[in-house]
């Protein structure tokens, strides 16, 4: 059995983009600040649409922002 964990580089990307706050990013991608926090902590796997919006907000591709770790259990 294997589980998939999504690692994101949202936090570092926010700081690279003029130290953008979680709220500013949330407003840009139309979600709540709490969801951005959960994503950064790896507690939530976003929908494809949200992942695409976040990547677009940073001018990156989805693969550059989200990395899937396949952990065999």
């Amino acid at each position: 059995m294997s589980s998939y964990r999504i690692k994101t580089s949202i936090r570092s990307l926010r700081f690279e983009h003029n130290e953008m706050t979680q709220q500013e990013l949330a407003d840009k991608v139309k979600c709540t600040r709490q969801t951005i926090a959960a994503l950064e902590q790896g507690q939530y796997s976003p929908s494809l649409i949200l992942a695409h919006r976040i990547a677009k907000a940073f001018g990156k591709s989805t693969e550059e922002v989200f990395k899937i770790n396949d952990e065999a259990k």
Binding site: C31, G42, Q43
Partner: protein, 148 residues
């Protein structure tokens, strides 16, 4: 704490309080048989129940979206809401099933279940639903594990 968390906490406090008041009121002075015959306790219970609903809807009104551009409910909130509802359904089903089995076992020999127990089941079924739904939502919001 976002709007959904505030609502869950409010709901938990309101229905928790209503339950804490209702249960002793039901069992004091003779339990289900006496409760049905005692008009005062019958009316007090109904009033507490009504007060619970009034407080609940007031709380929903007070936490309604005001003029703000911030998103107050997104896909994660919807997912948490769905998951909490699924678990709540299982809890309420289990509660009713086991409560009915216990009543059957208790009153199998007498062939008559006091009507007060039906009222108790009715009231507590609603309390169980609201309390478990709000508690599970809060747990899911606070959960550190990647469960969603």
């Amino acid at each position: 704490m976002n709007k959904n968390q505030k609502r869950s906490l409010g709901s938990l406090l309101i229905w928790g309080t209503v339950t804490i008041i209702f249960i002793p009121l039901f069992f004091i002075g003779g339990g289900p048989r006496a409760w049905v015959l005692d008009n005062t306790r019958f009316i007090i219970s109904a009033s507490i129940f009504a007060a619970g609903y009034i407080s609940f809807f007031t709380m929903l009104g007070l936490t309604r979206k005001k003029n703000t551009d911030n998103i107050e409910r997104d896909e994660r909130d919807i997912l948490i809401g769905r998951k909490a509802s699924e678990i709540t359904l299982a809890i309420v089903q289990g509660y009713i099933f086991f409560a009915c089995i216990i009543l059957y076992t208790l009153y199998d020999k007498t062939n008559s279940v006091p009507a007060g127990w039906m009222w108790f089941l009715g009231y507590t079924c609603i309390f169980t639903g609201y309390i478990s739904n709000s508690a599970i939502s809060l747990i899911l919001y606070k959960s550190k594990a990647d469960i969603l």
